[in-house]
């Protein structure tokens, strides 16, 4: 049975990931600047008035669940993007999804538009993500190849980045500039159930769209011509993937700001565990993304400093060394 061993190891690793997630959730619930009696807080229940219960149910739980949700959305979005473009360096930001959401949010922060109902910022950010994807789709044209989509995405992304730079350049006050910079660094601080409930339907809808396109992604791994011969022709499936990414990643950016590298690194990490299957990679990346972001947020919560450590900075610190490792391992491979 020596040949079945790697498969078992991979499955075991995936099971361990699945097991690590609830453990990380418990770690997130017990860690924070205030020491709480978790058992007593659980006993008091959702409507408990005690400070331990409020901290657990109103602060730590929604934040941890939001980290899981956003991590899953980013991981899944990255896997779908890499599968569709057949490019291991692709991530949701490549098609301007993150930039579109971020720019919409920045414009809102820039002009200091009044907070009407508490939903304006995230809703506009989601709209921004969809608009960016629509622009990419229109620029690439119907039935565009992966390379044309990438080109259109790079162009739209560059344009949106330029607009963001312009907004920063002409920020009306240092407060507006600070707001924009903090938004671009991403954060889960001070988020509650309302943000979670806002993002949840979009991320779920995005997940449904992406999972429904899993066979298209599998067929696409054989090449565009093979996918077409297998019946995945036309613009329906690419549009499905793009809308799924826009919904999931747009909602994630809308409530937490831009959090980089998760969508890029996570699919790389778990791809060997699913034997390069783009379909299975979707849920495996969602799982690993959720775990990675939750662990990053535990680090953020326990970081002692005069200012809050931004989660985008943490994921960047995780992502950059990963690329160093990727380059070093590629050089070793060439050497041998």
């Amino acid at each position: 049975m020596p040949r079945s061993l790697p498969i078992d190891t991979n499955n075991l690793a995936l099971w361990l990931l699945a097991l690590a997630l609830p453990l990380a959730l418990i770690a997130a619930l017990v860690s924070g600047p205030v020491s709480i009696d978790l058992a007593a807080a659980l006993q008091q229940g959702w409507r408990g008035d005690g400070s331990d219960a409020v901290i657990l149910w109103q602060l730590r739980l929604p934040r941890a669940l939001l980290a899981i949700l956003i991590g899953a959305a980013l991981g899944m979005g990255g896997a779908a993007m890499q599968g569709m473009l057949r490019n291991p360096l692709a991530e949701p930001a490549l098609l301007g999804v993150s930039s579109g959401a971020a720019l919409a949010a920045i414009l809102l922060l820039y002009y200091g538009l009044a907070w009407q109902s508490g939903w304006l910022l995230p809703v506009l950010a989601i709209v921004g993500a969809f608009v960016a994807v629509a622009c990419v789709w229109m620029l690439a044209g119907r039935g565009a190849s992966a390379s044309r989509l990438v080109l259109a995405g790079v162009a739209i992304n560059a344009f949106l980045s330029a607009l963001m730079a312009l907004a920063l350049n002409y920020a009306p006050s240092m407060f507006a500039m600070q707001e924009i910079v903090f938004w671009l660094l991403g954060s889960l601080a001070n988020r509650g159930w309302d943000q979670l409930l806002l993002a949840l339907p979009f991320i779920l809808a995005g997940a449904v769209l992406l999972f429904s396109a899993r066979n298209y992604l599998r067929a696409l791994s054989l090449g565009e011509a093979s996918a077409a011969s297998l019946g995945f022709r036309g613009h329906r499936y690419p549009l499905l993937v793009l809308l799924g990414i826009a919904a999931a990643v747009g909602a994630a950016v809308a409530v937490a700001g831009t959090i980089g590298f998760v969508g890029l690194v996570v699919p790389h990490l778990v791809r060997p565990l699913v034997r390069q299957d783009p379909g299975r990679l979707l849920w495996a990346s969602a799982l690993a993304g959720a775990l990675l972001l939750l662990l990053a947020d535990i680090l953020v919560v326990n970081f002692v400093g005069a200012q809050e450590l931004r989660i985008g900075a943490v994921t960047a610190f995780i992502g950059a060394p990963f690329f160093f490792w990727l380059i070093v391992s590629a050089r070793r491979g060439q050497g041998s």
Partner: protein, 314 residues
Amino acid sequence: MAGQFGFTCRLRICWPRHVPVDGLRRRLSAQNDKLSMILLLRPFFFLLLLVVAPTISAESRVASLNLCIDQVLLNWVAPQRIASVTWLSGDEHYRKAPLPEHVVLNRGRAEELLRLHPDLVLVGQYGAQRAAKRLRELGLRVVDIPDAYSLAQLVQQLDALQQALGDNSALAAQRRRLQQLLAESAVPGGASALILSANNITYGSGMLESQLLERAGFENLAARDGAGQLRRVSLEEVVAAQPDLLVLYGGDDEFALAHLAERHPVIRRYVDSGRVFTLPAELGFCPVLVAADVLQQLKEKRESLASKSSDRHQ
């Protein structure tokens, strides 16, 4: 207010600076024949001064190179005396008083003020120091006004402003009011308070905000925990500390990420029970304007909390 400044100028014109008032009186008493004439003409002197006063006041023009001093001028000084304020005061975020049309907005450059020929340039402790130095070198009267980070420094700042601007009823009244409030014995801390400012920052014992709380009879929980200056405070810490009063800072109705914590549902219970006090944003950049009001309001808030608490116990 304007009348008071005019009167100051009138006195200066009547009694030139190089002739002390006492010396003049001695000379007048020695010249008895002239004294009766002067006494007779005194009402006409006053009438004449009243006529020329606006012109003289308008000539005594003041320019500012500091945001807080801008606000002092705009709020408490006759508009015709203000030559220039900083560009930041063009933004209504910082300014509550109207901005007179003739007032020039400057960006802290010497050449901007030079062409306005102000009689007096007021500069803060920090910022625009190069421009101040250059203006001094060019012969303009530039006066440094110290910043205020404590109650004692606030009084010093008011003194410095009064000295530079001359008699000013508004400044004098503010100083009197502040000193009166400070003279009242601080009530021993029966209630606790915690400041939750932008970006989850709270204020420790060394800060003016903390001093105001303590003077109003609150125990600042951040100071009790050993915070001397600014410190990060999470919503968890706010909930765990259970302050009697949650003090928010600035944050208008407009949405800002920096004030996201204040919109969290766990804070709503403080809002619903009336246990929230919002410090005006001006306290952050120009405490001299609002410190007395804030202290008064905080005292009233503590009394209302105490009465609510005693009602509950009964």
